[in-house]
Symmetry: C2
Subunit: 316 residues, 2 copies
């Protein structure tokens, strides 16, 4: 362990507000490393947040998620927006600068000072994804990003979880074997606020649209009927329409109260995640000895796990 220079929090937060990329990166590292200064940092940041729209992108590998992300960044930048991109890797314990460096499509934005790109590993983070991601989003938000694109990296078991921290969720699909609606993971379809059929110059696009439409009709009790948009992200086709759909979604969601409800749900999960992480830490420290003792009884078949849990709860 090397000695760390003390952090001048006020200065750092000020630089983040000014949109200085290095400061934003530094604050995101504090979030990722679950730095002890985080509660204080977040307290400083709080007043500057609440503005950015968080757009979750989900979809099976091969549908063109990163191409669509890059095309959206281009389009949002053309409209004068400041944009954040957060790629979450829930499986890796490692921080991932390298990860995004590989993503060729993002390189055109790498030198743009109005685009913040970051990948973040959430495994092992106190409270996991549900706590780490909202905090990272707050950093982008405080840096005056108008839109933050939130994407999972790797194969997405946690896509549903990521969608839970977004304001609006795009579900990407593409025509062709393996990329259709069959390939979409259970649960992913239900979370779509906007459906995007990418690679829409390919055969099978209309069939896929019909499939999605049928499925939307089945589950359509909600006030917002998810639109289905066609894109060819690699050529930027349909991306302006997608951007318009995002704006429309926000306007409508703010009107109906869905916007506030979602953010309440997100805050609830975040607080719950923090509380449980703290309780877990207590369980390991305060009653660690008891836990070891009852665990040994469970291992030896002299107590069931349920009885042991009961005993721990009484002792807490």
């Amino acid at each position: 362990v090397t000695a760390r220079a003390p952090i001048d929090l006020a200065a750092l937060v000020g630089e983040v507000r000014g949109g200085r990329p290095r400061a934003v990166g530094r604050l995101l590292s504090l979030v990722e490393n679950d730095d002890p200064a985080l509660p204080e940092v977040m307290s400083e940041l709080a007043v500057s947040t609440g503005h950015a729209q968080v757009v979750g992108l989900t979809g099976a590998p091969g549908v063109g998620k990163s191409t669509t992300t890059a095309a959206l960044v281009r389009s949002l930048r053309a409209a004068g927006q400041r944009v954040g991109v957060l790629a979450v890797d829930p499986s890796s314990p490692f921080s991932g600068g390298a990860l995004l460096g590989d993503r060729v499509r993002m390189q055109e934005h790498a030198l743009d000072e109005e685009v913040f790109i970051r990948s973040m590993a959430t495994r092992g983070h106190l409270g996991g994804l549900a706590v780490a991601v909202p905090q990272a989003l707050r950093v982008f938000d405080a840096a005056s990003c108008d839109t933050v694109l939130l994407e999972t990296v790797g194969v997405g078991q946690s896509e549903v979880e990521v969608a839970g921290v977004a304001d609006v969720t795009l579900v990407l699909l593409a025509p062709g074997a393996g990329d259709g609606i069959q390939a979409a993971k259970a649960g992913v379809l239900e979370i779509g606020d906007i459906f995007v059929v990418n690679k829409a110059d390919r055969e099978g696009t209309q069939a896929l649209v019909r499939e999605i439409r049928g499925m939307i009709a089945l589950g359509s009790t909600k006030a917002w009927k998810p639109p289905i948009l066609l894109t060819v992200a690699v050529r930027g086709e349909g991306i302006e329409e997608l951007q318009a759909a995002l704006e429309k979604y926000r306007a409508r969601a703010e009107e109906t109260g869905r916007w506030a409800t979602r953010r309440l749900e997100r805050a609830r999960r975040e607080v719950e995640g923090l509380v449980l992480a703290r309780l877990r830490a207590d369980l390991r420290t305060v009653s660690g000895a008891d836990l070891d003792a009852v665990a040994a009884l469970v291992r030896d078949g002299r107590l069931t796990a349920h009885q042991a849990a009961e005993r721990m709860l009484t002792g807490l």
Copy 2:
């Protein structure tokens, strides 16, 4: 909701002990559905458990995990063992009889009354994988299985977690682009007690073995030096040697105390998982109203998530 016939627990547990497949399946369903009768069932079962060796199988898609599982089942059966196979799907909220039905290689064992095959979805289970899987393992154990093979289905973000509930972990690799050591997920290599290079009749086998050996040498502070075995599972080659390595591992682990330590760690995680699940439930019911209130303050930037968590903890 249909009315359920009351379960005669004593009779059911008796049938499980007798190794009746239907009873085993029924008890596994109780585990999967987190049935209210579970604490009582587990209490009845406890005395009959502790015998089975739980073998975790991990590896990237394409290395031949299910072929190796099937080959091991064949070999263990030939040695007169009773065998359980538990395929865990941590991503799906759905129970998966259908899932294993698709697995052609398992079909030769489908009619063997000494082989219990089951897939289990753990998402949404109280306490998740860390709680559900040990309970399911106890059912196999109580049914007098000598070995239980534990495998993740789908792409394995949770492989490391699954390995945490096994007595011994096999890490499978295969030569060839994309299946080598590079493709193995971070963290997976560290958990290997035995390395298996499958498809060892292919080019690149020796290079892969050297790679693994180099990596083992790097991290080799532990008492057990993981062996590297070569198999061609599709032809059953090297499987007897693998079975022998499993026996050797158990003997050595029991000798050194590693066996008991691991099982203690597993029991600790299980109890902790149950305790936290209960606390989470309390958080939602007992202090649900407070949680909503503080979450609203967090959403509106009037309280940070950390401050809110603090407030909840004081109130608990």
